[in-house]
Symmetry: C2
Subunit: 256 residues, 2 copies
């Protein structure tokens, strides 16, 4: 795709494709997903609105490229170490993605405004498949599990971001939860007794702790059904049954 362009030797005037994405990112960060506009980008770059169409066919292409750029900032090293237990590696991936994407809250909305099929998204998918293969999942379950994890991660972020109405960076977690607790305390106990009782827990839905709690339940579910049992793995060591191929890690939960 990115053919080695002739690279003009004149001093000013940068790549201008990167400039456009820089401008789009700046708009995203200060105004949220709705603030990313072709006209806004053009104004920031210092150019007429339609000049953007020299580099991108339409706004959707700009958004797609922006999503790819942010996905490219995900550090694959944090979950690449095959000596680590697979659960810890998945957890590292989930936390890394959460951190990178919540740093630009609006990007989640942009991501789910169209199919996520760019090279960076595919590379992440590939890495996760590798990871789950290392975990001993069979080839039929690994992709299913990878999508399950992706759905959970994206869904979590989408709901977290949706909870704040003002654009800009997400508020610090502690104060955010406190504010939610205050609001949820008004839940009418006569109509919604259980929701009212659980108000404090509900306030923490947007927390990293809830995020990890859910992830661990999910990993339990994947391990339970898609990994061989301890007894089965013992037998596997002698007689392979073609359904599973345990590699290196035990199915212990790291934090639970």
């Amino acid at each position: 795709m990115a053919a080695t362009a002739p690279r003009r030797r004149g001093p000013r005037r940068a790549t201008t494709e990167g400039e456009i994405l820089d401008a789009a990112l700046a708009l995203l960060d200060q105004g949220g997903a709705t603030a990313v506009s072709v006209r806004g980008i053009a104004a920031r770059v210092g150019v007429a609105p339609n000049a953007v169409y020299t580099y991108f066919p339409d706004k959707a292409a700009v958004v797609k490229a922006l999503v790819e750029r942010l996905l490219s900032e995900v550090n694959h090293d944090v979950f690449a170490d095959r000596a680590q237990p697979w659960r810890l590696r998945v957890e590292a991936l989930a936390l890394e993605l959460r951190q990178r994407l919540t740093a630009h809250p609006g990007v989640v909305q942009l991501m789910i405004s169209g199919p996520v099929t760019g090279p960076q998204a595919l590379a992440l998918h590939e890495a996760l498949l590798e990871l789950l293969d290392d975990a001993g999942l069979n080839p039929a379950d690994a992709p299913r599990a990878s999508y399950l994890l992706f759905v959970y991660i994206v869904g979590s972020l989408a709901l977290v971001v949706a909870d704040v109405e003002e654009p800009g960076p997400l508020p610090p977690e502690a104060g955010w939860i406190a504010r939610r607790r205050q609001a949820l305390a008004k839940t009418p106990a006569d109509h919604y007794p259980r929701a009212a009782t659980a108000a404090a827990t509900r306030a923490a839905y947007i927390s990293t702790e809830q995020y990890l709690w859910g992830l661990h339940r999910l990993l339990d579910g994947i391990a339970t059904s898609a990994q061989p049992s301890i007894e089965q793995r013992a037998r596997d060591a002698i007689h392979q049954d073609g359904h599973s191929s345990p590699h290196n890690t035990p199915a212990t939960s790291p934090l639970h």
Copy 2:
């Protein structure tokens, strides 16, 4: 909220608040989330754009009311039967929500454009908490599990809807998957070997079957960690330990 208005006796001119939501829904169904505009609604109702502001303070309020209306169409009966195993009940809820929301694909984007806190959303939350309580989850885990399920359901629907770019009703599943398989077959095996091998499975990510597969893993994870084991439940029948209160259902997976 809905105080009994004087109800004019003149023949024409309906509630006009419902008319607005009808128009918004029609726009949503034929043009997707982006087609829901104040001006479009006004044109459909046959009124000046600013007339909408007589009934709603802003567009966000219209969207919120529309989401609530669609959530109100969710049939609680399909998961209300306490004689049914809890897993089947959760599955019924998940399928009911999926069916209702995919009937109006754009609504998922509208839902996650702001906090989901209306009465209908709360009622659903309450019902799910009741259900998980029936399942024997302790009061600390039930709300966490309910949010986990909600995240999964909403995340799944968001990604399913994001996969189609044209607005309007979702395509029939079989042809949709076939089209995806055709596209994913082009995955370069040299760069993404596992993703390429799993192309057929990836094509079915948007299927109801994958949706249920993920849900079952999730239920396994919830049952494993938050429900007492079989032995523990046997002991529970005699000696209550205050951590769990099993009611009526075994932890068998219905479809797996």
